[in-house]
Symmetry: C2
Subunit: 503 residues, 2 copies
């Protein structure tokens, strides 16, 4: 076998990524110093990633092709997850001291999943808890850069989706070069994070001054930054066991808006930030995304009222809209333990896991754009089935989508659903083998929530629970599935084919 | 709104179908006479379908187009299900006397599903029990005629699948005209049914003569015919509560072979019957189908041995191969209550429900051909993702499949899986609303088993159970889903679009 992939280039770029990773690790060391917490957990991976990064970067690199990009993407998420786990192991506290748990938490972080194995939050240091948040923010940034700057040059499902967007929404016209676009959207991501942190902390400061002391009393600067990081990244980690439920109604409303914005196409947000509202009004995907959130909330709300869970009022609207937005945007925060709801609303949330927010954002799951294309194509095919001579392209926001792109979207959606099904069966059977009691619905939720990078599930892995009780074998498979799901399946599966390496 | 569908033609052909239906109803009346059971349950629908049939047939008919064919297919299955339910209601015994149950049983019959609401089999007359079997055989015949003679002229998923087969296996070359092909395969279907009945009854007669009295002591002529009818139709009704478990090992082995043959492409069987073995040896789909059955049996068998369910031996092999073949071929017979097995083998059976036998047979579910195309296309797309300039068609048994067909197969598979998911959620939520206790896995099984036309599920709807405890609302939705699933979704969904009726 002769390897024809230019792996040296991939490894060299990976070196740059590891070098960059040293910066947030150094910041966490500084934070630990500030809080008088141990520095070693951060200094060791800092030194390691800096040295490895500088070393690997020296390898001569060429212009990367599709294969080199696949290899880079797959190895980057894996490498950062491994380095990211080191602080948890070295801190050595609670469930996170266990290497499997540490890797799970780290992969859940960098993939913006938000499934946690933390048992008791209060025993961990503030820097360690902030590291979870930072990992997620970095993961969101990575996805954004990937979506615009890299994947769009490759001819795969996720890519052609971006191509579709490119065609219909002129991503490429934002700036002449992809790298420029990526930098621009990265800046927007940073700006939105800062804005949200300022808003949240602002509420905290404002409360006592306007005579409303319980406006946001718990939202300290630390928590404002921590939650801003994982809201815009639609990622969902919180340093609190009760998630956003630990904060006031005002904070919860701000976070609802933040999650909704975080799962909106960043190209639309960019135009919006420049005062151009036509793009967002013309976007069919945005209307579907908004419709799913509002429609889902109406259905869940009606069910909760029928169940007598809440009286009509602000609390009902907030609880419903928060949980539905959190799941549909794939954030995974919670303000109530929705695992205690009845079968109806729990199952609507479960279905919501498969939707996801808009393409071109940090959202995970299948994404509304894909479902929109699937639905439109299916409608078209019903039409052409009875009008065989008609030629009718599928149009998105006015522009025709080519049939190859449609096929790739079908493939991606189908493969996602099939992998979810197989993972569910694995979780049930593996838990039963290991003697861990998992309900079928708990397994379905955990499979969807990890593979689709949402976070909380049902049963012991519910929004106020933890994935810790799953057997190690299940947790390790979930680590792999979070990784595979976040980078949109193809890069990992391609690595498993012989033709990837050889021909 | 101006209706542009030539519904008169559809209704006229439906008249012919109802006229033909009078013949089996008359036969059941004769059987009732033979067993001194009430004749009225059969004479009323006999007279009704004969009169309605002759009357409707008089409506002038034109050459049917795609729309008229869709309308015909959808209304034919529905009309026969309604007429087929009349004997159960008029016989007025047990659970079947209830109209909802009667319709469920009849639809389960004509769609070759085999999900039953019968509580106690022994209280029903022999003619009524045989009517269930006959409905299934007619349903299987309908599907065979449809697959070859009708659907292949239409440009829908199921159709293009047959087209694919046409191209790769020369269905059209069997005889110059489609009608001729349909007649030929219908004859083969009848011949195989007769052969199987003769084999089963032959075992019964042979036993005492060769000094092996327990070769097949219970396999009377009645049971031989009853099971031959529902084996070749991969349908699964049995007049016995214990299904094929009521019979000897020898009978079970014959039935395994019968089910396997019933889910094999009838074009291949036709060539085989003429001594041509090359077709079957060259068929990639056959190899996959065989592989799924053997592979599934090996996995289930290994799990059962680990569970200590059976010692190594003939009983293990038979129990495993029977249950796996029954599920994969979508027949739905059982020889053991597999609902009592542990999570592992039960979940493998559950996954097996989604496979199905070969296209061009009476099998239901998604079918191996579609999965084969999905798998090959996915592999091809992984290849072209890393080799963007390569042009590589997907080949099946050597011939290239066109991309439109591939897209339709993806669409069909995805829509099936999505409908299954939504149906599962409906079953859980509706049961919880009605206060009927259904486990999540029970709901998953029942949803898959009805929509994919398999028959038994898990929990109270297990192989030795009944669907009777489900609320009426759930049962009526399942009636619709069996109907939608059996005629491959598109004809019913197309009827729901406005463009079907108007433009
Ligand atoms: K998440
Ligand atoms: K069946």
């Amino acid at each position: 076998m002769r390897i024809r992939v230019d792996w040296r280039t991939s490894v060299s770029v990976l070196g740059t990524i590891l070098k960059i990773l040293a910066l947030p690790l150094a910041s966490m060391a500084a934070l630990a110093l500030f809080y008088s917490e141990p520095l070693v957990p951060f200094l060791v991976p800092f030194a390691g990633s800096l040295l490895a990064g500088v070393g690997l970067e020296r390898i001569e690199r060429d212009e990367p092709g599709p294969r080199e990009a696949f290899l880079l993407v797959a190895s980057a998420w894996l490498a950062v997850a491994l380095v990211g786990a080191i602080p948890f192991v070295l801190a050595g506290q609670g469930t996170l001291a266990d290497p499997v748990n540490a890797l799970f938490e780290s992969m859940s972080g960098i993939t913006t999943t938000g499934a946690t194995v933390v048992g008791r939050f209060e025993i961990h240091g503030r820097a360690i808890l902030m590291w979870r948040q930072v990992l997620q923010w970095l993961g969101g940034l990575g996805i954004l850069v990937l979506a615009v700057g890299l994947l769009s040059e490759l001819s795969v499902s996720g890519a052609q989706l971006m191509e579709t967007e490119t065609r219909t929404q002129d991503v490429t016209k934002l700036t002449p070069r992809m790298a420029g676009t990526a930098r621009l959207l990265g800046g927007l991501y940073l700006g939105l994070t800062a804005l949200l942190a300022a808003l949240l902390y602002g509420l905290h400061l404002l409360g006592p001054r306007i005579g409303v002391p319980d406006l946001a009393p718990e939202m300290t600067l630390y928590d404002a930054v921590a939650h801003a990081l994982t809201t815009i990244a639609t990622a969902g980690f919180s340093p609190h066991a009760k998630s956003v439920g630990a904060f006031s109604p005002a904070v919860q409303w701000v976070v609802v808006v933040g999650m909704f914005v975080g799962a909106t196409n960043f190209v639309l947000l960019y135009h919006l930030s420049r005062g151009d509202t036509t793009r967002i009004r013309d976007s069919e995907e945005f209307r579907v995304y908004l419709g799913v959130v509002v429609g889902g909330a109406l259905v869940v709300g009606a069910m909760l009222v029928l169940d007598g869970e809440y009286p009509l009022g602000e609390e009902l609207v907030r609880a419903t809209l928060f949980q539905v937005t959190s799941i549909v945007t794939t954030t995974g925060y919670a303000t109530v333990d929705f695992d205690l709801w009845s079968a109806g609303p729990r199952h609507v949330l479960f279905l919501g896991m498969f939707v996801g927010g808009m393409a071109g954002s940090t959202t995970c799951s299948i994404k509304t754009l894909r479902w929109l294309v699937v639905g439109k194509t299916f409608r078209r095919d019903l039409f052409t089935a009875v009008h065989p001579r008609a030629i009718k392209p599928v149009r998105l926001s006015g522009a025709a989508i080519d049939e190859d792109t449609i096929r790739d979207i079908y493939a991606y959606t189908l493969v996602s659903v099939v992998i979810f099904g197989l993972l569910t069966v694995f979780v049930v059977v593996d838990a039963s083998r290991a003697g861990v009691e998992v309900t079928e619905f708990g397994a379905m939720g955990a499979a969807a929530s990890t593979f689709l990078n949402i976070g909380p599930a049902f049963g012991f892995a519910g929004p106020y629970g933890s994935y810790e009780p799953f057997p190690d074998s299940t947790k390790l498979v979930m680590v792999v599935m979070m990784w595979v799901g976040r980078i949109e399946i193809f890069p990992v599966l391609a690595l498993l084919t012989r033709s990837f390496w050889e021909s």
